[in-house]
Amino acid sequence: MIKFLLNQELREEHTLDPNMTVLNYLREHVRKTGTKEGCASGDCGACTVVLAELDGDQLRYKSINSCLTFVSALDGKQLITVEDLKDKDKLHPSQQAMVDCHGSQCGFCTPGIVMSLFALGKNNAEPDKEEVLEALAGNLCRCTGYRPIVDAANAMYDDAGADQFQRNEQATVQRLKALQRTDTPSLALDKRHCHNPKTTAELAELFLQYPEARLLAGGTDLALEVTQFHRELPAMIYVGDIAELKQVEVFDDRIELGAAASLSQCYDALTADYPDFGALLHRFASLQVRNQGTLGGNIGNASPIGDSPPALIALKAQVVLRKGDQRRTMPLEDFFVDYKVTQLQPSEFIEKVIVPRAGAVDRFRAYKISKRLDDDISAVLAALSITVDDGVVTDACIAFGGMAAIPKRARHCEQTLLGSHWNQATIAKAMAALEQDFAPISDFRASKDYRMLTARNMLQRYFVESQVIEVETRVTAYV
């Protein structure tokens, strides 16, 4: 049984299918049809809803794709949909601004856009242009060309009054507190079940008990198995309610990222030390996906085109794996064995990721190459960290995504650099050495030749950016 607030209505659900998405729950189970299905794959944002979660005595609002979220994730939270924003007869400022700015045409993406705007308004009192674009990057609109929607994002702040969510906040906090439980919520229907452990120890134990279970974190990848590939997930363990697994801690020498920390959470911690990691996360899927998706998930699904693994490898990150009470730590680059194969044993899971702090000089650069700049999957991702002392390369850690069956270091390329003078001739040799490291494939994202050429060119870009003379090198700098 799970318990949550559907806006202000308490819902206790005993017999839901754990494979049911929040979108289908809304549209088919409770017949609230304001939330739309545009793709059922988390790429269009038409189904965007907002979850309000307890954060001490406050609420934290986040936009999510309801098509990628299984109902188990609702336990103990408040689910807010587009139907809930109107205050009696008065449109919410995010809605009124969309009307006033002519922000809807066919109107099918509009509920999702309104919810993204609502979440933006809750989280940012004065967003700059980049933040507005970030809030909307996961919402496709085919009609307007976006200009009036961006105008609406700015105009909604003209109505400064408190909305009903703010007025009711304390009452909602109390109601949510009353929903918090010490037992392990679970859902089961027919032979399918999902458990929501609250501690890592409990997770470890459950995973020993159900080694066949799939770990459900953000679900941004796992849910596709149900919605796109029509497979059943008989057993799941939801890790999103484990506070200790969501912790992000910064120490003098390292940053420890809990495996269930959302990508959005990791953003701040990593950006401070590694601005390029921040820039990369900005282009990593959409805000909705980053709010849900986790670093552990991005590593654990072992995709060759996941964005964070190459970057973390270049930073010499380590992963802590746990099975029962046993822990082991290994360099992230060793974690990946083959296409979608990792070191994880049955019942073993990623507990945390440890990233060394940046030294005095940030030598880390990450370059993402994709057909569309926002919310697209990389053709190639290059992550480089090169140390030059007195004009000679003393350390080089270079990793690529999209170039092999796993995220992989470019060892030959690194060897070419090590001990060499940091100049154009060395770079040319290092570029050529990539041929020995990789034999990429062609697919609909890019040809193998394009992958190889751009991978090489990223060494060139790194070199130019390392020069004293300021040269514009990135189109993404234009906002």
């Binding site: 549209r27 739309k36 809807s104 674009l133 085919r142 029509h230 040269v471």
Partner: protein
């Protein structure tokens, strides 16, 4: 008799109000009629309708072969899945199997032969979509592979066509080319485009008595859905009612191809007696339905020392997919627009309608026009690089002009050509020349990033080229409380048609728009309608509604003149009131009076476009009532290490005649521009060598996202230029023409790439100009520079 007695205004108050202008009539920035419902989720789309308890959901199993004989279909395993009501194949269709909209060739379910990956072969009706899908996948279907045709080149070589090639010819192009001082020949692939309406194809069908059907469909063409549902069931048209309130986007994709799901649902509903809904999941939608036609275009042009065209020959080959659908007219429209705004000289334009084993390509905003219209823009750039003159200058030199340079290759005279002044206005307003210099300077010093600039015009012909389609109907009732029920044959897909038509009716009656109830398009209110397509929605339906409103108003005027013993000129409708010489009364009061005096308060309206005619056999005539014009100037920055780019700024000046609603028109212009830019940049359709679409979802097919809109986006409408033709309030159509303003982005990217070879080589880039294609063009120009001269003029890394 009246509810308004208690709030009755004084004569002075009424006069004061009547003196003011109506705020919600024509030309006002009235908000979209559904906006307030869309932002709250209250606007009802078909999938939001309350479902019947016994409703079935339909799913079609798609062919996984591009071309194959179907040797066996066994549906019995479908019935082993609990919840399945019925499984059908072609032989179960009670009436006509073919749902081809113009020519036959589209079986509702594959008839012994599969002709593309994605073609519906069987369909299942079950108690949920997931059950229907599971059951459909359980069926046994066996194939015997046949050789597919998968590329346009292959189709051209094999002369595999859905219909015969067709030519427009004016003058002797062969002689003109031979005589011309300079010649350029080339070939380019222009990509197709997925509509990506946010609401996928959907219909919900309910059996009615007398063996009829009530059909809720998301379609631009309710009349055609009515006809095809009747035909697949073998019943007369009058047994089928189609209701269409709104679409979640159409863009042409729901002109002909909304009919398939409606007809499958209707067949299942007929055979089971149960209401049936068919909604295509996104992937199925992208696999089953056709897209914008990809083209392979070859050109041979002659020009003089000034870069002015002397003669042109073009072969435009459209990839139609496996069936004719609307392709004949689409390829025709590509041919009609092979001139854009330029005088071609002696010209021969031939269009090929290639048959291949992919989904049947269909209408998409511009209807083939964009794929033809981009050609002269590519040619202008090529000429400019050859003679070393700014491409804008070459464009201006080639525009249509005075006598001798004012006839198209299909013999229509270009009247009221406003492009020269429109371009001059935009060129000055966007500071083209100043920015051109700044960009050249930037590019000299920027080793990795290069900027590009391009100003391109659009001239687009307005009217269905199938002349008979240029007709429309409307129906207006005025009720005795003064409220108005408005219905017309057009469909609302987001473009604001209902709002514009309501404004027209408001203007004619001089009442506020909130008195007017907009209602679902319905085949039993307005029959025999044309699709809402060809940008014609407001032109045709606005005129028809205006006609109905004027009919009723004239009855009221005649009645009032008689009743109050004044002349008809003494009766004036003004801002919710009627002035009758020295009397004034609220609108509703006159309505009540008219009712009691037995005046009819309901009328149909009708309109057909005048002046147009076209003889296709001779390829001569006036297929277009008028032209709509526009121009855009785009600036981009390109990364020469990856080919990635960003639109830095776009300035647009667009001609909508006298705007019916400037806010809606600007929305159309902006949306079309971004969609057009998407077509030519990130939206790449990729099929594998088995003919399977590999980009069948938004994870792999990338339409513009918010950050893809120009960073600095400035859109203006041409002011004080009424349409010279007698269109509705002298407005111009706006749906399609601005789509082609996106070509300026394509040309700006090429301009940035051209800087790599100091603007002396014209980069050859197929559309869409994906980062990969752009990077290969950069590489090719770098090589050209390296071969040409040891010390490259352009700064490179």
């Amino acid at each position: 008799m009246s509810n308004h007695q208690s709030t009755k205004k004084t004569v002075e108050e009424m006069l004061a109000q009547a003196k003011q202008e109506l705020q919600t009539g024509v030309g006002r920035k009235v908000k979209h009629e559904s906006a307030a419902k869309q932002v709250t989720g209250e606007a009802v789309y078909i999938d939001d309708r309350l479902e019947f308890p016994n409703q079935l959901h339909a799913y079609a199993r798609m062919s996984d072969r591009a071309h194959a004989r179907i040797t066996r279909i066994d549906l019995s395993p479908c019935y082993e899945i609990p919840g399945v009501a019925i499984a059908i194949s072609a032989e179960d269709v009670p009436g006509q199997l073919d749902i081809g909209c113009v020519l036959p060739g589209d079986p509702l379910l594959a008839d012994g032969k599969a002709e593309y990956v994605g073609q519906p072969v069987i369909a299942v009706g079950a108690d949920s979509l997931e059950t229907a899908r599971k059951a459909a996948m359980a069926a046994i279907i066996e194939y015997e592979e046949l050789e597919p045709v998968l590329s346009v080149e292959d189709a051209l070589e094999k002369e595999s066509y859905v219909s015969d090639p067709h030519t427009h010819q004016r003058g002797d192009s062969k002689a003109a080319l031979a005589k011309a001082p300079h010649r350029i020949q080339g070939a380019v692939h222009i990509g197709g485009q997925e509509h990506f309406y946010l609401e996928t194809q959907i219909s919900s069908v309910i059996p009615t008595e007398d063996g009829g059907m009530l059909v809720y469909t998301s379609s631009q063409n309710p009349t055609e859905v009515q006809k095809l549902v009747a035909e697949v069931l073998g019943i007369s048209f009058n047994k089928v009612v189609v209701d269409m309130r709104r679409m979640g986007g159409g863009f042409g994709g729901k002109e002909s191809q909304a009919a398939g799901p409606a007809c499958i649902a209707a067949v299942i509903a007929r055979l089971t007696g149960r209401p049936t809904k068919m909604r295509l999941p996104r992937m199925e939608d992208m696999m089953i339905t056709g897209k914008r036609h990809p083209f392979f275009n070859q050109y041979d042009v002659g020009y003089n020392d000034q870069g002015i065209l002397q003669g042109v020959e073009m072969k435009l080959a459209g990839n139609c997919g496996y069936s004719p659908d609307l392709s004949n007219s689409i390829i025709d429209r590509a041919m009609f627009h092979a001139d854009n705004g330029y005088y071609l000289g002696d010209a021969t334009i031939t269009g090929y309608r290639c048959k291949t084993n992919i989904a049947s390509n269909t209408a998409y905003r511009g209807f083939g026009g964009p794929q033809g219209l981009i050609m002269p823009e590519i040619i202008m750039d090529d000429i400019a690089r050859r003679i070393g003159v700014d491409p804008l200058e070459i464009r201006k030199r080639n525009l249509y002009g005075d006598e001798g340079r004012d006839h198209t290759h299909y013999y229509q005279k270009v009247e009221d050509n406003i492009l020269p002044e429109l371009i001059a206005d935009l060129e000055q307003n966007c500071e083209y020349q100043k920015r051109r210099k700044e960009i050249a300077e930037y590019n000299r010093h920027s080793p990795i990033l290069k900027k590009g600039l391009a100003l391109t015009p659009v001239k687009f012909g307005i009217s269905f080229t199938a002349t008979f389609l240029n007709q429309a109907g409307a129906l207006i009732h005025v009720y005795t409380d003064g409220s108005i029920h408005l219905n017309h044959g057009g469909t609302e897909m987001g473009q604001g048609l209902n709002t514009k038509v309501a404004q027209i009716v408001a203007e004619e009656f001089q009442v506020d728009i909130d008195r007017i109830q907009i209602t679902a398009t319905n085949t039993d209110k307005v029959p025999n309608t044309s699709p809402t397509a060809a940008s014609s929605g407001a032109d045709l339906n606005g005129k028809a509604a205006q006609n109905a409103a004027i009919t009723i108003r004239q009855r009221l005027v005649e009645f009032a003149a008689r009743h109050f013993d004044v002349t008809e000129e003494d009766v004036v409708f003004q801002n919710n009131h009627v002035i009758i010489r020295d009397q004034i009364m609220p609108f509703e009061e006159l309505i009540q009076l008219a009712y009691f005096h037995q005046i009819s308060l309901s009328s149909t309206g009708f309109y057909r476009t005048p002046k147009i005619y076209y003889d296709r056999d001779k390829a001569r005539g006036r297929p277009f009532y008028y032209y709509a014009y526009g121009a855009a100037c785009s600036e981009v920055v390109v990364d020469t290490l990856t080919g990635e780019y960003k639109i830095l700024r776009a300035d647009i000046l667009h001609d909508v005649g006298a705007s019916l609603n400037p806010a809606i028109d600007i929305g159309q212009v902006e949306g079309a521009f971004v969609q057009g830019a998407g077509w030519l940049t990130s939206e790449e359709l990729v099929w594998n060598d088995q003919g399977r679409l590999m980009t069948a979802g938004p994870a792999s097919y990338k339409i513009p996202a918010v950050a893809d809109m120009p960073i600095d986006f400035r859109v203006r409408l041409v002011e004080n230029r009424r349409n010279k033709e007698d269109t509705v309030f002298h407005s111009k159509a706006v749906g399609e023409p601005p789509f082609m303003l996106g070509i300026s982005v394509f040309c700006a990217i090429k301009d940035a790439v051209a800087s790599v070879a100091n603007y002396r080589v014209s980069p050859q880039i197929d559309a869409p100009a994906t980062p990969e294609r752009v990077l290969w063009a950069v590489e090719s120009l770098k090589q050209a520079v390296a071969q040409d001269q040891p010390a490259p003029a352009a700064a490179t890394v």
